[in-house]
Subunit: 334 residues, 2 copies
DNA sequence: CTGAAAGCGCTTACAG
DNA sequence: CTGAAAGCGCTTACAG
């Protein structure tokens, strides 16, 4: 109301008739303060709307209590990862700030480095790829941890990019009698897309089934539609393994446009368990990926690093197959 | 490498053989410094990896150069809004930090207030509803601006929640001969959902067409599916106005389960132009909402407030109708 | 063109 | 149980 600058701890001290030290002790609960003094200080602080200046506190304590989470904001599933990470961080008493950095890998790396040395964060978790130079190996600087399903730099990424269930798709469908396959892939600079493509190629090779090859190369639905439109008339019966659900819904559309039924002429699998996949006609067989839990685990890892503890052993799988209508009747191997 | 704490401007000064003042002037480009001195300072700063401690700078200048963007991270379209807002902020030389705050309105309000008085941000833009108490009216404190399509508190929200195009849906379909309507609504505590419901009710009343009422009340696809499954057998021919595309895809599924064709037995409209809507069978007539531009405009508004300028006059509409297959042949009124 | 000094708001040994 | 004083790293009048 009155002045134009927010009240400081000095204001509280003056009004409460105590020292700034006592205010600090009373409010942070650290020093020993008599109950009555603490009471008075808290009342004054409340009444004048005092809130500590975090920049000042952080500068003094060299502990900001803040963690940065970096995301590219491109995919819905990043949301879930961020939420999982924030959840764990908050439970541990940290505040998280999400920085959405699009732009190139090099720029992201720069920005991440800035955040790391800016002294505002105690740790940084990134869900988008950065160059290895941004990743801290020692404890002399702010720890930067990368937990990403997508990696433009050919560096491995862990369970979120795990594509082993794609082998189960191919094996189960082959078991059910399907002899001809097609993979509609995502962009090659994504570790997840690469892993799926490689798993696909290994599976068709191992099982000795026919493959019409790997097509696609982008994530959007239109790519899936075009992939089907480009198929020869005698392609069916065909099992289409799409790299995600968006591609799969495009495949569905393309099949309808060509008069092919699913399942029937085509069977189809997706990936990610997007919300619409349960309601398409037919509904999509897909992989449910627990991005939220993936985010939680990544944050637990960062927390362990901060505390110099051993990383928690990771338990249940993050992925599971959702058999639905688009694959027709199958006898799941697992 | 060496010490465990990052280099400070004092370190740079010592090594470069100048004062801390000169380092500051050289690096911020503010004071008058000779070219050679500036050169040397910058080289030293670079060589020892100096980066200013933002907390310290912020405390001194009382200008953080940072803006907070608050989101709930619940909807995909929030992403686009955040990106639009960040884009505008960056262009104006600000860094934005995205805080995702789920929890209740009261808690969000508290957290927002903390951010506002924490002294770290020059302005705050929230895309999720907060209580009016968090919204600053004067310039004595950090400006907090709410730009949300969703508002739990019955306070108006502007163009993102504008539902007037729903009237065009109903009018155009009535013009095309449809006589019976149904609205599958979203949750009532969303301003956008309320606006759509009210616009629907006004439209059917004005046009004198039959309405089977307003059903639904949640956003997910399953609600749309259930709405159709609950319909009497003689409901078709029926025009279904769904409050968003997720509900619409559920309606599509429900219709298929009952053996009803779309368009034919049912015509259907959605809202938001979700990416899958172009690929469902039939594709969804919907409203394209330019969330990214909505985010840009909101940030321009905040920036104008910060600079005590007049808010920029807002130009083109944020919404437009996408006529697709789910409404069958119509002659758009507009 | 350059530097010594003060101060942003807080916390924390230290002394009483 | 309480307070005076120092200092976190920076910027900025001010004096030279």
């Amino acid at each position: 109301m009155g002045g134009s600058t927010p009240p400081t701890s000095r204001d509280v001290a003056r009004i409460a008739g105590v020292s700034q030290t006592t205010v600090s002790y009373a409010l942070t609960g650290k020093g020993a303060v008599s109950a009555s003094t603490r009471q008075r200080v808290m009342e004054v602080a409340e009444s004048i709307g005092y809130r500590p200046n975090l920049a000042a506190r952080s500068m003094r304590t060299r502990r900001s209590g803040r963690l940065a989470v970096i995301t590219g904001m491109t995919f819905d599933n990043q949301l879930a990862m961020v939420q999982g990470a924030s959840e764990v961080a908050h439970a541990a008493g940290y505040v998280t700030e999400t920085h959405s950095i699009d732009e190139t890998v090099a720029e992201r790396t720069d920005r991440t480095l800035e955040l790391a040395v800016g002294g505002q964060y105690e740790g940084i978790l990134t869900f988008v790829p950065v160059l290895p130079s941004a990743l801290s190996s020692d404890r002399s600087t702010t720890p930067v941890l990368a937990a990403t399903a997508f990696d433009e730099n050919m560096h491995s990424t862990g369970e979120l990019a795990d594509a082993s269930l794609l082998d189960v798709f191919v094996s189960t469908l082959a078991e059910a009698g399907h002899r001809r396959f097609l993979h509609v892939a995502g962009p090659d600079h994504y570790a997840s897309a690469r892993a799926r493509r490689e798993t696909y190629l290994a599976a068709v090779e191992r099982l000795g089934v026919e493959s019409l090859g790997v097509v696609g190369g982008e994530w959007p639905a239109e790519t899936g539609r075009q992939a089907v439109l480009a198929l020869p008339d005698d392609a069916p019966p065909l099992a289409v393994i799409a790299a995600n659900d968006h591609l799969a819904v495009g495949v569905l559309r393309g099949a309808a446009e060509r008069g092919w039924t699913v399942p029937g002429d085509l069977v189809l699998t997706g990936w990610d368990n997007a919300d619409f996949g349960e309601y398409t006609m037919p509904s999509l067989t897909t992989i449910d990926v627990d991005f939220r839990e993936g985010g939680r685990r990544a944050m637990r890892l960062l927390l362990a690093t901060l505390r110099d503890e051993d990383p928690p052993a990771s338990e249940s799988p993050l992925q599971r197959i959702m058999w639905r209508e688009s694959t027709g009747p199958v006898a799941p191997l697992d």
